[in-house]
Amino acid sequence: MASGKTLTISLMDPPYESETTTTVLRIIDAALRRGHNVNVFAYEGAVALPLKTQAAHPNPVKGTTAEEQHHPTTSGFISALFEAARAGGAKLDWVNCGLCVDERGATDWIEGVRRGGPADFVKMAQESTNTLVIGTR
């Protein structure tokens, strides 16, 4: 059931470089399960998180095929979060910072993500119950 509350999160880490990325996905998942709307402002390297060109790969050290390894893609997890939001009646709004997208060529993203900028983050922060900014190291 929708809570009527909204959490805004800003993150910066690119995929596969920091545990913070997984933690943010956990927070989004928990917030959606609790019926909260979630805004995400993906800044800098984080704009690569929802790229639909990510591909799973085998693991030659473990001797597994791509199917057996079932290597996660961050975009796969984010797609699942969009689906969870829809199923639960909550809203997930994911904004990729446009200039960060341009300089990285990170333009091919999954359905649901939209292009935006810092002004979107300000609006999100002003209209949310709370805002969590997560920097990068």
Binding site: T23, I27, A30, A31, R34
Partner: protein
């Protein structure tokens, strides 16, 4: 008076800053605020009994110290090896705190 939710994702072994973040927690509490210090990711490395954890010693009994259950389990820190003064928590509780009125959340 606010409720400060200070989320510490870093450990003091790799970084020098967690010590100052812990000092800030104490200053905020001294100023009359409610403070929760939520350890997550490598931040939980200070919670193993016997760890050199000056930050945890400072915070114990002065602010609420919580540690993310998944981060603990991921690092093999079992419940019976958890230092005193630390309670186990989870991101669900983290979200509940984030969404409560008057919460000021700071990620480190």
């Amino acid at each position: 008076m606010a409720h400060y939710l200070l989320i510490e994702s870093r450990d003091p072994y790799e970084y020098g800053d967690p010590a100052q973040f812990a000092d800030l927690a104490l200053d905020l509490a001294e100023a009359g605020n409610q403070v929760t210090f939520f350890l997550i990711q490598n931040g939980v490395l200070v919670t193993r009994k016997g760890a050199k954890a000056a930050t945890l010693e400072k915070l114990r009994n002065k602010v609420t110290v919580l540690a993310d259950e998944f981060s603990l389990r991921e690092r093999g820190i079992k419940p019976d090896r958890l230092a005193s003064g630390v309670r186990t928590s989870h991101v669900d509780q983290l979200v509940d705190m984030l969404m409560a009125d008057g919460c000021k959340a700071v990620w480190h």
